[in-house]
């Protein structure tokens, strides 16, 4: 059995175990989940150390690593040909970092799940199912398989938000579900269109193989998405339309302004572990999808739309930061800050330069760790006093010095203090966006300069929050009762926070830990996009 399959299906095994165990053992479920993510993390570290840095991947199947390719569905459809769906997994420099991130975030989210008290069997079953889906998305190289994992993420998330969430959980769950479904339904149309446009040269069948879709030579002459045929739908080039549809599907997850409004609601209503997964992983699936699918399969359309994508990134950065500044609820503030920080990912990707895409990748990993940390910290306050209004707290630094210490790390790392990963990531996204005009002429320079204002605004909202909640004299809404409830960080919480902080610090000081692994892939991707 392949390592990747173990990584993906280990949680399913755990789900089966949980389902057969009687509910009397339900206090042990979290340890099962914790064990699973720990094993996954060890496996992913193993993969990381054994990873071949020089093998680019992207559009060369033979350069992918840990490939597992099994014929899965073969159905003779008569005149249309033979249905060819593979169980096709493999990783390159674009996906490998996400495996580690996923395992880490799942670990932290499990530690945050200690606060879940009801219906543990269902909770951990769904939680582990989500784990499988996320891992699968990052490994799948068959578009059909990818789509299955992609949709599989929605189901557990819907229930996790809808059943264990806050007061308006059902509203938020449905909003989240419909929003993302809206994107992916149209994606399915594009997948079918691609299927009928692409032939596997080896077998002569239509195929869902993503890597084959990246080679213009595999397209049937005159097919819908053939670059040479230049078909159009509603007067728009079919390839451009397909690109836009796919982009919107993924961009909803990122999210972009103006398709972001599911995010604040989902985050605020979701229980802490789900917020952590949402921010730490789900948003990254969006960014990963844009790179792996939109930009790789439709590079021509990507270049056509780069200016707009850059603009969307810029708007997301500034608009998200502005909204974060206006928040009175700490969790909502962090949700909006996510919108702002993910804007840098879009800006970096849109630049289609090595600096920009490397920066965007680093930003995704970095934001994964930091947003998980931020939501975990908010969850800590909320689980203690069931309040997270900024104005309800004051002078927490004196009351909870260690908690404040972690908050300061998370805040300053997020606002781009050098030494932490977010700084490198944002700096290189900006460098990429700025050099783009000279390298490939995609983005104008003012976009990078405008986006740098986002860095200023992020300092403003984080420091303002710090000042309002943590400094000054102690003054709590709940008075002395709260004073007793607001105990400092405990050991379990430290186990969750320390790895995230260490990751952010490590990547900030030694970005080569990540860059070395993905340089070859990024170069190949840039080559693929800009030709």
């Amino acid at each position: 059995m392949n390592l990747l399959s173990i990584l993906i299906f280990l949680p399913i095994v755990a789900v089966l175990l949980i389902l057969v165990l009687p509910s009397a053992h339900q206090q042990r479920f979290k340890y099962i989940s914790l064990g699973v993510s720990l094993i996954q993390f060890i496996l992913s570290v193993f993969i990381y150390t054994r990873f071949n840095n020089t093998s680019a991947g992207i559009n060369k199947e033979e350069q992918f690593q840990l490939i597992e390719k099994l014929p899965w569905i073969r159905l003779d459809l008569g005149s249309i040909g033979k249905l060819e769906i593979d169980y096709f997994l493999g990783i390159d420099g674009l996906s490998m970092p996400f495996l580690m991130l996923s395992a880490l975030i799942m670990f932290v989210a499990t530690l945050a799940s200690w606060e879940i008290k009801t219906n543990l069997k269902a909770y951990f079953s769904l939680f582990l199912l989500l784990n499988t889906a996320v891992m699968g998305v990052f490994c799948a190289l068959d578009f059909f398989l990818f789509y299955i994992f992609y949709e599989l993420m929605l189901l557990p998330l819907y229930f996790l938000i809808g059943m264990w969430g806050g007061a308006r959980r059902e509203y938020a769950a449905i909003k989240f579900f419909l929003y993302t479904l809206f994107g992916s339904v149209f994606m399915l149309l594009v997948i079918i269109g691609l299927y009928f446009s692409v032939l596997n040269p080896a077998t002569g069948n239509h195929t869902f193989n993503m890597i084959l879709m990246m080679d213009p030579g595999n397209y049937i002459e005159g097919s819908v998405f053939s670059a040479i045929a230049g078909q159009s739908i509603f007067g728009i080039s079919a390839r451009l339309l397909a690109f836009i549809v796919l982009f919107i599907a993924f961009a909803i997850k990122v999210p972009i302004v103006p398709l972001h409004t599911w995010l604040p609601d989902a985050h605020v209503e979701a229980p802490t572990p789900v917020s952590i997964i949402l921010a730490g992983l789900l948003l990254k699936v969006g960014g990963y999808g844009i790179l792996r699918i939109c930009f790789s399969i439709f590079p021509d359309s990507a270049i056509q739309s780069a200016w707009w994508i850059g603009l969307i990134g810029l708007i997301s950065i500034l608009y998200g930061a502005m909204n974060a500044l206006a928040q009175t609820d700490l969790k909502r503030l962090i949700a909006y800050s996510s919108v702002s920080h993910m804007g840098f990912v879009l800006l970096g990707i849109a630049s289609a330069t090595t600096e920009g895409i490397s920066g965007a990748m680093l930003q995704m990993i970095s934001h994964g760790a930091l947003s998980a940390m931020l939501f975990f910290l908010v969850g800590m306050i909320y689980s203690r006093v069931h309040d997270r209004e900024i104005s309800s707290f004051r002078g927490l630094a004196e009351l909870m010095p260690q908690f404040t210490f972690f908050v300061m790390i998370a805040f300053f790392a997020s606002l781009g203090l050098p030494g932490f990963s977010a700084f490198m990531a944002e700096a290189f996204s900006l460098i990429g966006a700025f050099t783009s005009e000279d390298v490939n002429g995609l983005l104008p320079r003012w976009m990078a300069i405008g986006a740098s204002v986002g860095i200023l605004l992020s300092a403003a909202y984080f420091l303002w929050t710090l000042q309002r909640m943590f400094f000054g004299q102690i003054r709590l809404k709940g008075g002395d009762v709260w004073k007793d409830q607001l105990v400092d960080v405990n050991t379990r919480e430290k186990f969750a926070l320390v790895p995230l902080a260490v990751l952010a610090l490590l990547l900030g000081i030694f970005p080569s830990l990540l860059f070395d692994k993905m340089n070859a892939s990024v170069l190949a991707l840039v080559q693929l996009i800009t030709g």
């Binding site: 929003y179 608009y319 400094f471 000054g472 860059f515």
Partner: protein, 679 residues
């Protein structure tokens, strides 16, 4: 043998010197409560010794450049390394040396603070960042330390974070510095785009990329790379913006006076002697990037800042605030000097200023410290930073008085002090430079002379109010309770006093050209005009002495002209030119309002759109539902009902009663006959 190798490896020594304080930061922070004073002091002392060792080997000798590959993006390799030349080695000694003194001073000054370990840890972080900043060899690294310096300054300003004003000031300092950082970052973007490297040696060294790049036909060309020439100016302006924020130049100066909320020892180290000089250091380090346009802007920004800050200092009453504005003013001098090309003069002034300004703060700190203890001891609460409430301390605190007088003399630039050499050198250069310029530049040197005279007034106003005359708040009989500060603090004042004299910097007290420090840097291109070399100091000092005398008459003999209080000039000065109010109104309020507006937009318009789409879908589906139930299902039901009616109708015929059948048959036959008959 190995030890010898280590001493040979200067890069490593510099690295060690910088990292030692970081070690102290980590160690003290993780070891929790337990002081940490000795540990912090010993690491920084070791740093200082290492710096001195490096200084003795590198000053006026070959620069040392060591680098190693840091990371690689695509095909571009980024290096991290150490570049030691006269400028950085001077800064190293300056920073570590003053840090050692401030550490010693702080042992007494910060004694009994419950969170003292955090203080030592933060100081360690600051020293690490500052030393890292001065030895870094790439713009990216400098930026990294640049922000870390800002961060440690944030921590130290907000050291007493339970005080609202302190946390407010810390936030303000960080955010205003962030504005500058954006400029710095923009500069990096431009340089990287043009040269694909951020390496100082490759960019600015001899035959570096900057000097070999050229401007032709409005294009800035370097090798095969070319971008519009305007970006060279923008890059210069962007870096200058960074320097403006850090060195508190107009219009980004308002954070520095507020930063005085931090402990005085911190103000002395960070907000007077070292960190605020980082802006000037940056300009000096990347000097070749500035084109004539940017240099001219630098001149006016520096000159205006110097003048404006001096006018504000005239009427402030908080002892630290006066000194803060004095710092801003002196930094203005340095920036202006760099703008006119007086490079070595500016660095010279940076060095002398570091000592006398540090001394001013520490002397003021002694006064504050002793008054604070008096307040605590006698439960006599008054604002012990307000100079209007002080007075007559000369006899009670001779060390502080002596230090303060000497430092003030240096600040004003009176003969035999270090300030005389450096400040007058800047002014002489300004006169010489202006001789080659026309138009509005003519007023520049006179503006600077005026500023110098104002300096004499405000600093001696402070000295006279604090140390002369009668004690105003403390009763004369209680005055005896106040004594000079503890011995450690006194020694620090004495050492610093020594460094305010000319002898440290030059053997000839009258000529800055004899200074070893001045000679350590490239002599500027300004054409010398010898008459200025004696005329300018003469005018300056005559004026200064006159003003000091007038100040004495006003504040000690109470015999001056009518008070200016109430006039609009006084109000502008006292209210600090209303910058805080203007910024508050123009930026903070408007950003706040904009953010609320955008949130409302988000809720009502964007989310409103989503929700109304949902509502629309729901409405449509309920219409369809109605249609489905009433029309489509209605039709189905109707056809069902119809057949039921028909069925029921015919069912009646099948009643099974013969009478009915006969009657029906009869009716049918009868009607048949009737019909056929009629037709």
């Amino acid at each position: 043998m190995e030890g010898l190798n280590f001493l040979e490896n200067r890069g490593l020594i510099a690295l060690l010197a910088a990292i030692l304080p970081l070690f102290s930061f980590v160690f003290i922070l993780s070891s929790k409560r337990g002081g940490g004073a000795n540990f912090a002091l010993s690491t920084i002392s070791l740093s200082f010794l290492l710096s001195m060792y490096l200084f003795s080997h590198i000053w006026n000798a070959e620069p040392e450049h060591k680098q190693f590959s840091w990371f690689m993006i695509g095909k571009v390799q980024f290096y991290a390394g150490i570049l030691l030349n006269n400028l950085s080695i001077l800064m190293m000694v300056l920073v570590s040396g003053i840090s050692v003194l401030v550490h010693i001073y702080s042992r007494e000054y910060m004694k009994n603070d419950p969170n003292i370990h955090r203080y030592w840890a933060y100081l360690g972080l600051f020293c690490f960042s500052m030393l890292g900043l001065v030895i870094s060899d790439s713009l990216l690294l400098i930026y990294l330390f640049w922000e870390l310096v800002g961060f440690s300054s944030y921590l130290l300003i907000g050291f007493w974070f339970s005080k609202h004003a302190a946390s407010q000031a810390a936030k303000k300092a960080f955010i205003m510095n962030r504005i500058g950082d954006l400029g710095f970052l923009t500069g990096i973007l431009i340089i990287y785009t043009q040269f694909q490297t951020l390496d100082l040696a490759r960019l600015f060294g001899d035959g570096g990329l900057i000097s070999t790049s050229s401007i032709e036909n409005g294009l800035w060309i370097s090798g095969s790379q070319q971008i519009p020439a305007i970006w060279l100016s923008i890059a210069g302006l962007a870096f200058f913006l960074g320097a403006m924020a850090k060195s508190a130049q107009f219009p980004l100066h308002t954070w520095l006076p507020d930063a005085m909320e931090g402990p005085t020892s911190v103000s002395s180290l960070i907000h007077a002697a070292t960190m605020v000089a980082a802006g000037v250091f940056l300009i000096a380090r990347i000097y070749p990037v500035f084109d004539p346009l940017v240099l001219d802007i630098m001149v006016w920004v520096g000159a205006f800042t110097a003048f404006m800050a001096a006018t504000i200092a005239l009427t402030q009453n908080d002892i630290k605030r006066i000194l803060a504005y004095s710092t801003i003013s002196q930094l203005g001098f340095m920036v202006m000097a760099l703008g006119i090309g007086a490079y070595s003069e500016s660095i010279f002034h940076l060095a002398t200023h570091a000592f006398f300004k540090c001394l001013l703060f520490l002397a003021a700190g002694s006064v504050i410290h002793q008054l604070h203890h008096y307040c605590e001891k006698y439960k006599h609460n008054f604002d012990h930073q307000d100079i209007r409430l002080m007075g007559g301390l000369r006899k009670r605190m001779p060390f502080a008085f002596f230090g303060m007088c000497l430092a003030s003399a240096a600040l004003v630039g009176l003969p035999l002090t270090s300030g005389f050499l450096s400040k007058d050198s800047i002014l002489i250069r300004t006169f010489e430079w202006t001789a080659t310029r026309e138009g509005v530049f003519v007023i520049l040197p006179w503006l600077m002379v005026l500023t110098s005279w104002l300096t004499a007034f405000y600093i001696f106003r402070l000295v006279f109010k604090v140390f002369f005359g009668e004690s105003r708040e403390i009763k004369a009989d209680k005055l005896g309770q106040i004594s000079d500060s503890p011995v450690q603090m006194k020694y620090v004042l004495l050492i610093l006093s020594f460094f305010c004299t000319f002898i440290v910097f030059a053997f000839n007290p009258a000529s800055f050209e004899s200074s070893w420090l001045w000679k350590g840097f490239e002599v500027s291109m300004i054409r010398e005009i010898s008459v200025y070399h004696w005329l300018v100091p003469l005018i300056l000092n005559l004026g200064s002495f006159l003003l000091i005398f007038i100040t004495y008459r006003i504040y000690v003999l109470d015999n001056g002209p009518q008070s200016m209080k109430g006039t609009w000039l006084y109000r502008i000065s006292n209210q600090e030119w209303f910058f805080n109010e203007i910024y508050n109104f123009m930026f903070i309020r408007s950003v706040e309002r904009l953010s609320l507006l955008s949130y409302r937009f988000d809720r009502t318009v964007i989310d409103g759109l989503v929700i109304s789409m949902a509502t629309l879908t729901k409405t449509i589906s309920s219409i369809i539902d109605w249609f489905d139930r009433r029309i489509i299902d209605g039709l189905v039901n109707a056809s069902g009902s119809l057949s039921r009616y028909i069925g029921r109708f015919f069912k009646n015929f099948q009643s099974g009663r013969l009478q009915h059948y006969l009657t029906t048959m009869l009716l049918v036959v009868l009607s048949f006959f009737i019909l056929s008959y009629l037709i």
